[in-house]
């Protein structure tokens, strides 16, 4: 942007920036129009413009930036991790387990991905790293049976948190989506309120398909909150803005690497500033 007060071309440039961050055409246009409206009221230079855009993005996200509250009333607090293939479910469980442990909570893991090659081993490595118990069965076992057994064991051990991993699945595969519904239904036999949180893990590189993911997983799995992974790459995850506007689901965490410490609380202001390139 030039030093001078900006014109229509600058607004187009701005819309482009937002589209390139995956906000989608409608959300990008809405924000651009809002910034355009404000240009009359304030004489803004390049940095100023970005600042206003960041503020608009932040506004759209402020209400959904919420920490995950783990209350200890019904022990254990059961978290079900869901999402499409490869989004980062298993890794996020490892990172969260470490976070809960460092808060002094006792944590159990359930290797509920009984489908993918070495998925159980992958979670077992994380359990070993952090030093938490894991309930697992052979590949091909029924995931809801495994989840039931894990909750029984975690209950008996008076654990604070149980995290259940699930196999990745695309949201248009209705038979696989039904499986998630079944897991939730089966563990309710042991605790009518379980799962207490259902976290949908979104990959930051995803485009407009994220809207369909949120819709389908919310409908069949009862998603209560979101985690966005892989924000350490070049993707800026702008679809979250459209997701926030459409669904209003809480966003709890972001993943910023593959290591155990690479998990941060979702912060609307930081996210918005990174999105428009202000750091």
């Amino acid at each position: 942007f030039t030093k001078a007060k900006f014109d229509a071309a600058t607004l187009d440039e701005l819309e482009d920036l937002l589209i390139q961050a995956d906000l989608g055409v409608d959300t990008a246009q809405r924000i651009t129009q809002e910034v355009g409206r404000q240009r009359h009221e304030r004489g803004l230079d390049a940095a100023g413009v970005r600042g206003v855009v960041a503020t608009e993005v932040e506004k759209a996200l402020a209400d959904v930036a919420k920490p995950l509250v783990v209350d200890n009333a019904p022990k254990p607090f059961v978290i079900l991790m869901v999402g499409v293939n490869g989004s980062g479910k298993t890794t996020t469980i490892g990172k969260l387990a470490q976070k809960f442990r460092s808060e002094g909570k006792s944590v159990w893991l359930a290797a509920g991905d009984t489908f993918r090659a070495a998925a159980v081993e992958q979670l077992a490595v994380w359990a070993g790293r952090i030093g938490v118990p894991i309930v697992k069965k052979d590949i091909g076992a029924d995931a809801s049976g495994l989840a039931f057994e894990a909750l029984e064991k975690a209950k008996a051990a008076n654990a604070d948190v149980l995290m259940i991993d699930t196999a990745g699945r695309l949201q248009n595969r209705s038979e696989l989506m039904q499986e998630l519904e079944k897991i939730a239904r089966v563990i309710k036999k042991l605790d009518a309120d379980a799962p207490h949180a259902v976290l949908l893990v979104l990959d930051a590189t995803v485009g407009q398909n994220a809207l369909g993911q949120v819709e389908a997983f919310q409908k069949t799995a009862g998603v209560t909150g979101l985690v966005m992974t892989k924000l350490d790459g070049t993707a800026r995850g702008g679809i979250l803005v459209a997701v926030a506007e459409k669904f209003g689901l809480p966003i709890h965490f972001i993943g910023v690497g593959e290591g155990v410490v690479d998990l941060e609380p979702f912060d609307a202001r930081d996210f918005a500033r990174a999105l428009v390139g202000l750091d």
Partner: protein
């Protein structure tokens, strides 16, 4: 979406009925709708721009045929141009090199490299009767090597024995040696996922390429990718000189604009598509089909 684009274009062109040829301004309005449709399908913005420029050029002055509605004609031009950009002829994995032919698989974290490695190995073995060895160079992700070993057992393809403590480059050297000594036709090298801004991991991949001298460097990318597809494709191509692309999760309901973005910025062919988690869920790339999806047809 096709209906929407068709409806929108229909609406724009209805008022033109009875005119001889499309003017610049008639087409300009239509191109705004095409742009929106492509962006909603996740085609990257700069790719959309050059694409609509080409379509505009072809559409301006095009004769309005009596039998065809102008909206449909523009959609046909868009469709044909999409197919042309995506690459009209299917290009298989090339094995035209001295055995063992090294094939290097690269991509972002979780894109589907390990799964695709095993699927391709199975295909080369079952269809092309090649003796294939697979090796995991992923020293980072928990149980990555076990994952490839399990898949190798499932499809009946040999995997390089796991030796703890070796670097990716050392494993690549060992794999090529085992490939030569074992009389293998193909050695498939699966690598750890990496972000393109991770300089040390990108350098590691370049070093692997230097020692293994792969005949194919395949970028494995998720069909659900949004605008970042261009960054990813450019960065991997720039650092490693990719020879082709495998697009995964085409079994999803994503519109697949990433295919157009990646092909357009690298000029490298999309060779295969992944259409499921099972080992036989691999298909040849069909530009017609992807073009139809991008347009929502």
């Amino acid at each position: 979406m096709f209906d929407t684009l068709q409806d929108r274009l229909g609406g724009i062109f209805d008022k033109l009925r009875g005119r001889g040829a499309l003017s610049e301004s008639d087409v300009g309005e239509a191109m705004r709708e095409v742009r929106r449709a492509l962006l909603e399908a996740d085609v990257a913005l700069d790719v959309v721009r050059s694409f609509t420029d080409r379509v505009r050029e072809r559409a301006v002055g095009a004769e309005l045929l009596k039998t065809v509605k102008p909206g449909q004609m523009v959609i046909k031009i868009v469709h044909d141009e999409l197919v042309a950009t995506l690459g009209s002829d299917a290009q298989p994995i090339s094995l035209a090199a001295a055995a063992p032919v090294p094939i290097l698989m690269v991509g972002l974290q979780g894109s589907g490299k390990t799964t695709s490695t095993a699927k391709i190995a199975k295909r080369l073995q079952d269809r092309d009767k090649r003796k294939v060895l697979m090796a995991s160079l992923d020293t980072r992700r928990p149980a990555a090597m076990e994952q490839l070993a399990v898949l190798g057992q499932q499809v009946g393809v040999a995997t390089l024995p796991i030796v703890a403590g070796q670097s990716a480059v050392q494993i690549a050297e060992r794999a090529m040696q085992a490939g030569r000594l074992g009389g293998y036709d193909v050695v498939m090298l699966d690598t750890a996922g990496r972000t393109t801004v991770d300089e040390s991991l990108m350098a590691e991949a370049a070093e692997v390429k230097r020692v293994a001298k792969p005949h194919e460097v395949i970028l494995v990318a998720d069909a659900l990718t949004g605008q970042d597809a261009v960054n990813t494709a450019r960065a991997f191509d720039g650092a490693l000189g990719i020879t082709g692309i495998v697009l995964t999760r085409v079994d999803g309901d994503g519109r697949g604009g990433a295919a157009l973005s990646m092909r357009a910025v690298t000029g490298k062919p999309i060779k295969l598509i992944g259409v499921g988690e099972k080992m036989d869920a691999l298909e040849d790339f069909d530009p017609e089909r992807i073009a139809g999806r991008i347009l929502g047809m």
